[in-house]
Symmetry: C2
Subunit: 290 residues, 2 copies
């Protein structure tokens, strides 16, 4: 255990906007949040299947999930050099000067993971769910954000609780978790505003897409100040209807499987706590560390 006291939880910036390094005091907050979410999850009537998820995923899975179509501007694709050593001899001298050594990079079969839940839906392919399938996942996620306002990272950790089942189950589950997460955040002295939200759809159908999302009440965000008065969504509760059941081919109750999830933006929740309780976790109220 660390014996450093009063160490600030301030993240270190790097040469790349939206890419931070996290000191030990920050990671204590992360561990506390993980433990808190695990306690919330323990009350669920049936256990969640926990999976640790890597930060890259099959490109085909993300294409199939519809993410590429809707959010191409946020997606990071993984490219690699497919040429031979001889050709590399001509490109290599450009590398140390920051020149165009990457002219021959080709797209690979992988993309950066945009949300922690994506790999779970593919594990259900071909199944007919006679009881809800629940997942508790954590991953480093990536979004190629255009701005770098406080809390708007490009690489960040996301914990998600996910359920798959029929419509009745998924709607009730999402509503129940929305309330529970708000209550949990408030118990840590965060001022939570629950707002109907939409996703940052890209393309000519944007207004229609977002209006349909709001009309169907698919997405709710829990918004909290993360830096002074700067507010960000630090968690969300989402109902996907049969989007993933159709895309990945699983069913429940004789129809395409439905899904819902609640997502926790770990760094953003930590920033919000630092904003309220100060940068030194050692001085935070003891109740937070139970």
């Amino acid at each position: 255990m660390s014996e450093i006291t009063d160490a600030p939880a301030t993240a270190l910036t790097t040469e790349a906007p939206g890419v931070l390094l996290y000191p030990e005091a920050f990671e204590r907050i992360v561990a506390m949040l993980r433990a808190g979410i695990t306690r919330l999850a323990a009350d669920e009537p049936a256990p969640f299947t926990r999976l640790a998820v890597p930060p890259v995923i099959s490109r085909r899975t993300i294409e199939r999930a519809g993410y590429v179509t809707s959010f191409p501007h946020l997606l990071g694709t993984v490219h690699s050099y497919a040429g031979d050593a001889k050709r590399w001899g001509r490109l290599a001298p450009l590398a140390e000067e920051g020149g165009a050594w990457h002219a021959d990079q080709e797209i690979s079969d992988l993309v950066l993971l945009p949300a922690a839940c994506y790999p779970t839906y593919a594990t259900l392919a071909g199944r007919d769910l006679d009881a809800p399938a629940r997942f508790h996942v954590e991953a480093h996620c990536f979004r190629q954000e255009a701005t770098s306002e406080p809390g708007r990272l490009r690489t960040f950790r996301m914990v998600e609780l996910v359920t798959a089942g029929d419509e009745e189950h998924c709607v009730a589950w999402r509503d129940r978790w929305l309330a529970r997460v708000a209550q949990w955040l408030e118990s840590m002295s965060l001022k939570v505003a629950i707002e109907e939200a939409d996703d940052p759809f890209f393309g000519v159908g944007r207004k229609l897409y977002q209006a349909a999302q709001r009309m169907q009440k698919l997405k709710f965000e829990l918004r909290v100040p993360v830096d002074g008065d700067q507010v960000q969504a630090i968690a969300s509760a989402n109902y996907h209807k049969d989007h993933f059941g159709e895309a990945f081919g699983f069913t429940a109750g004789g129809a395409a499987g439905q899904t819902a999830c609640t997502a926790f933006g770990i760094e953003r929740i930590a920033f919000a706590l630092i904003n309220v309780h100060g940068p030194q976790p050692d001085r935070w109220p003891a109740a937070l560390w139970r």
Copy 2:
């Protein structure tokens, strides 16, 4: 806490070779390894600075570090869509069918992190070290491996202990940690072979590069069976001479700063333990869980 007993620690495969999902029983092993490394690190005469490192890093940092020049075939570059919504209207229909929607992807300022230690060197830029600077880092790393033999993942977790100082310090530190890590792995009943090694340099100078690395005894690998008799390097101890001090501009003892590191391949160590003790961590010797 989980009440599931005897759950196997078997990782789940995905659609993408070398990209796995890890169940709770596997993550118990990961947590045990993290705790073991932290105990080893606690004996160091001065504390390590701990940093949690994200899975992407500034492309310029990796160019400067010389990684691009030497290992272009292993590097994953992050590309994104820089076009407008109108043009996307023409590409979007290709996305769900797996067509060439990615024709307009452009390279970004980020690459996938190839090793956990890279961000640490940049934090020393401009400094003159009057005492060694030590780091304890963990990250998800990426290598675009061509094969998928057991243990050869493309995305994996790496813990590294790093030191920066003068030549005498770095050489002694590397030798000491090589012995300590071997002893630690052996204490968990792993059969460790320590081997002089070289890096998988790409390009026409490969043989010369690798011979020079071996002649100078820069890299030692700790090799252990990870699946039956299939052996992989599960840890390494490396001396970089003044490579990073020159690249990032820090000094020690009046000369370019030198560095050394010891790297732990977390999944590979877990695979090696499963190979020896079986897939059910609940049945492993209690001494492993102290």
